[in-house]
Symmetry: C2
Subunit: 247 residues, 2 copies
């Protein structure tokens, strides 16, 4: 037998995990998946490459990972078998053989994240894990105007927590929609890549504009500042979900 | 000041609690609420009377409780203030002064519970806490025919876990709907009262009928048997939500 490359699509509720990335002494989604593949294929040191290093508390309904493995277990058995070994809050929804040229990280064309804000006065006990409860009247029009200013290719340094000085902070935002489903507001952001905490920093800033701290045009100044302190406060992790990765 | 009676309507996600009822050494919803009222009114030994003693893992979007208290805190402040003292998975949605003749338990006319089954092949990570994942094709028509046989006044002993021999197990079911929202199936049951585990035992039995273990007419025999072992297995707690109590 020879080694083959398998692509997995994974959903998870990130509440219980210290994010995607395997780290010593804490439970992570990558760790749980590596353990499950290891049990299925009876191998140690299985290593997955995940497309997005989602943070603690961030969810996914479309994370993608690849792994290289030499095993007699057919790929068509992976979904059913891995889900038996995984905790309930992680599920593998597809597994397929891919060419060696496929790489979960570098083959990525773009990704979509959805951030959800819940604006009703009282919190919703059924959704506390999946939204930011922000009981306020938010100006949807102003947020939509400001969001549209982010479309296209810009230096998004003002929205990057802990920017790496050696790397470019220029990215291209393909979509930045503010969707009114009162009392819910969804922010759908699609880009060719994301800086650290970029979506949560964008949402925190748009919410500041929505509640009238700044007007929509101020977004131009924030972008031009290329300074994290020019933008709004970061929105909490639990409202964020990685929705889809395009290859 | 004099003692007054306050009626509370409460929502909760029951996942983290050992049910409603206060008990030594475990965390319960009643306990959390009593502590919150105690802090707000600066009183010890606050005691709530809850309408339904929901079990471990069962949820509520309409639990009702009353309490008697002598406090200068106006009732109109209760909702906002209690929610500050409560954990995120419990929320008080209304508080109103009621006449002493109101009793959360004995004034109850009827209650509605909803039980949700998720029938897709793969579990839904976002809803694992609120449904029974039962990946199977279920015959909706057969379940609806069987459910209709439960309407009206019957001895429901076959659906009571740990029946109390001294008490009557006769109840009146006002509604027993099987709602097809594939891949979700909801079971809405309204009755003037419920025996211990009655909804979960009914749903377990209907699912057995839905998957063809028995035909719909067998429900008549189960009812007539007045024997718990005649009915199907109990459905898991997490799929159950107390939806509304009518007074």
């Amino acid at each position: 037998m020879a080694q083959r490359r398998i692509k997995l699509v994974i959903h998870y509720d990130g509440t219980a995990y210290h994010g995607w990335q395997a780290q010593p002494d804490v439970d992570t989604v990558q760790h749980q998946l590596q353990v499950a593949v290891g049990k299925l294929c009876e191998q140690d040191n299985v290593r997955l490459v995940g497309s997005s290093r989602t943070d603690t508390g961030v969810h996914a309904l479309g994370q993608v990972a690849h792994l290289d493995i030499d095993t007699p277990v057919p790929t068509c058995n992976f979904v059913r078998s891995l889900n038996r070994y995984l905790p309930d809050d992680i599920v593998v929804v597809s597994a397929e053989d891919v060419d060696e040229s496929f790489d979960a990280i570098s083959s990525t064309q773009s990704k979509i994240y959805r951030y959800t804000v819940y604006t009703a006065k009282l919190r919703s006990v059924r959704d506390i894990r999946y939204c930011w409860h922000r009981p306020a009247e938010l100006d949807i029009d102003a947020m939509q105007i400001a969001a549209a200013k982010l479309l296209g290719t810009h230096d998004f340094k003002s929205f990057a927590s802990a920017a790496d000085q050696r790397e470019s902070s220029v990215r291209t935002i393909l979509k930045c929609d503010v969707i009114d489903e009162m009392p819910w507001i969804h922010f759908d952001v699609q880009a060719d890549g994301f800086l650290y905490n970029m979506v949560r920093n964008i949402v925190g800033t748009l919410v500041d504009i929505g509640r009238g701290r700044w007007n929509a045009d101020y977004m131009d100044q924030i972008l031009a500042a290329k300074d994290r302190t020019a933008a709004g406060k970061i929105a909490p992790a639990k409202g964020l979900t990685l929705v889809e990765i395009f290859y």
